[in-house]
């Protein structure tokens, strides 16, 4: 809400300042999560809203995604003579990598853009200012429930993408590539392990948080003028994508270091 009055000037200072403010908002949200009263109504409404804008596209994206992975992996495995690992390979790829990323793309693209447009419209209509003046913190009242809702929906979507991906993989492997159902299922536990699912869910939670905070931040500080909100939505989606891919990379690296793989 405050305009910085600092006089320091060097290339990139603007970006650093924005990043700092983004982090500050993230911290405020983190603090707000534990402040009472909790806005249960807003949380439920937002969860429902975000779920309703993301579920269908996610399902539609997840099916071909699972299929592509399983087709690719299936033909590769066959060339290497490792057909029995086809199921394991697609599960690993889907659960650990594909589903958090699909979730992230949709949470950012569909959920985040909706949040950003909503908050941005409220900002330029001075609703946010009005709320602050009525002694109600907009972060606490509007942003925190949205961030939590986004995290919850990301978690659910991640589970959904995993299931749909695996089912899609099964269908394509068994029906189109003449794999055997038994081998596909049996190999599940050969490579994959439970922490793979957990790390996928943790990633989804973090992605949901980042997408919602970035969207809210851009919505609270849109560029001036009538084009401002549109630009803000656009930027929020791009920024979120970039951030999510970087964060995904980092989390995957850490995970691979910490958790030993099953076949060593």
């Amino acid at each position: 809400m405050t305009a910085g009055a600092s006089t320091a000037r060097f290339p990139g200072i603007g970006m650093l300042r924005e990043t700092g403010k983004l982090f500050a908002l993230g911290l405020d949200v983190g603090r707000g999560i534990f402040q009472r009263p909790f806005q249960l109504r807003e949380f439920i409404q937002q969860s429902w809203f975000i779920a309703s804008v993301t579920i269908l596209p996610t399902a539609l994206v997840a099916i071909p995604f699972g299929a592509v992975i399983s087709l690719q992996f299936g033909s590769l495995a066959r060339q290497l003579g490792a057909q029995s690992y086809t199921g394991a390979g697609s599960v690993l790829a889907t659960v650990q990598q594909a589903s958090p990323l699909v979730t992230a793309l949709l949470v950012a693209g569909a959920g985040g853009s909706a949040i950003c447009a909503d908050i941005g419209a409220r900002t330029i209509r001075e609703e946010i200012d009005a709320m602050e003046v009525l002694g109600v913190s907009a972060v606490q009242r509007l942003i925190v429930p949205r961030v939590l809702a986004c995290m919850l929906v990301a978690l659910l979507l991640n589970g959904m993408v995993s299931v749909i991906g695996v089912l899609g993989g099964y269908f394509f492997n068994v029906v189109l590539q003449d794999g055997t159902p038994g081998a596909y299922l049996a190999s599940f536990s050969a490579l994959a392990q439970l922490p793979d699912l957990w790390v996928g869910e943790i990633k989804a939670l973090i992605f949901g948080f980042i997408a919602a905070v970035v969207a809210s931040y851009r919505g609270l500080h849109p560029p001036p003028g009538p084009k401002g909100v549109g630009d803000a939505v656009n930027q929020s989606v791009v920024i979120t994508f970039l951030l999510l891919f970087v964060v995904n990379f980092v989390i995957t690296l850490i995970y691979l270091q910490i958790v030993p793989t099953k076949l060593g």
């Binding site: 809400m1 405050t2 305009a3 009055a5 419209a121 409220r122 209509r125 001075e126 609703e127 200012d129 009005a130 709320m131 602050e132 003046v133 009525l134 002694g135 109600v136 913190s137």
Partner: protein, 400 residues
Amino acid sequence: MGAEVVIEGLTKSFGKQAIWRDVTLTLPPGEVSVMLGPSGTGKSVFLKSMIGLLKPDRGKCVVNGVDIVQCSEHKLYETRKLFGVLFQDGALFGSMNLYDNVAFPLREHTKKSETEIRKIVLEKLEMTGLKGAETKLPGEISGGMRKRAGLARALVLDPEIILCDEPDSGLDPVRTAYLSQLLIDLNAQIDATILIVTHNINVARTVPDNIGMLFRKELVMFGPREVLLTSDEPVVEQFLNGRRIGPIGMSEEKDSAQMAMEQEMADAGHHDGSTEDVRGVVPQLQPTPGLPERQGVRRRKDRVMKILHTLPPAAQEGIIESLTPEEQRRYGVQPHAYAGAQHATRPVASGSTPSRHSGELPTENIAQLPDSGWNGPAPRPQPGTGGPRHQSPRPGQGGA
């Protein structure tokens, strides 16, 4: 009684663009003040800085001993509950209907039951003439209704300070008159301190007790209404009359070449855009009959009479003429007598402006204002006349 707002040396800029600097004024408790200024001089920015939505570069804004500019976030939220703010477009919550909008502050900040809330909300909606429109969404009503609903919402917590950003813009003259009356009635009923930001000359002439004007990044003046209404400051004169001739141009500043050209055209008979000469003190809007008397008016009278001899002669005359004969006797002043007094730096008892007077209220009820004079314009060269620039000492300072 409404809270007093003391603003000292407030300065605001966005990046390199200075908006205004060193704005110093005091909103006397329970009085209605108007801030005038051409579009784009930062009036809305000023309001937002007063309530901590924008952070000024420098200066103080003290309400009930809390400096809004510096205080902690917790204090800020607490202090803001004293304010009722009407934003330029009402700033209603688009997803709620009018009833929920107006009930919002009550639900957030009080433990009132829904029945009590209903009573208060309906009362405020009726007050602003919105009875029957409770279930409408903000997107479905006219701009004027949105504004009134915004006002209703600003009023539910019984604010001590009411800030209105251009309550008249987008309203027709009749609705503007109703809204002006509503604000005066409100002031009579709850004795709140009111600041109205506007560029509507009619509102400025009839509604407030005090008027200020922002121009060229500065507060040109702030003081009792009579001072500005009788001022011969070119900016003020031009603005009040809506003329093209004068320092205010289409863009923020006018150069002297353009000013000279316009003056030439006017001298040659080209109409300068004004309608009529609207200078001078006009009667102030009174509360609707039946409502209590405005407390602020009585306090202001005592306050203004105390600083009367520091005001410009024309303003003195206007003030004295607005008093009833009985009040003139009580304060020991008479109309048309300022001519003799204006040269006396320290007026003697026989002058129109006693250095000491006895107000009708005990001292503790009179607004105690730091520096409660009026903020005059910076002295400018006065060709020929060299008239007195009202430098007379305030009572108590000059030593008697």
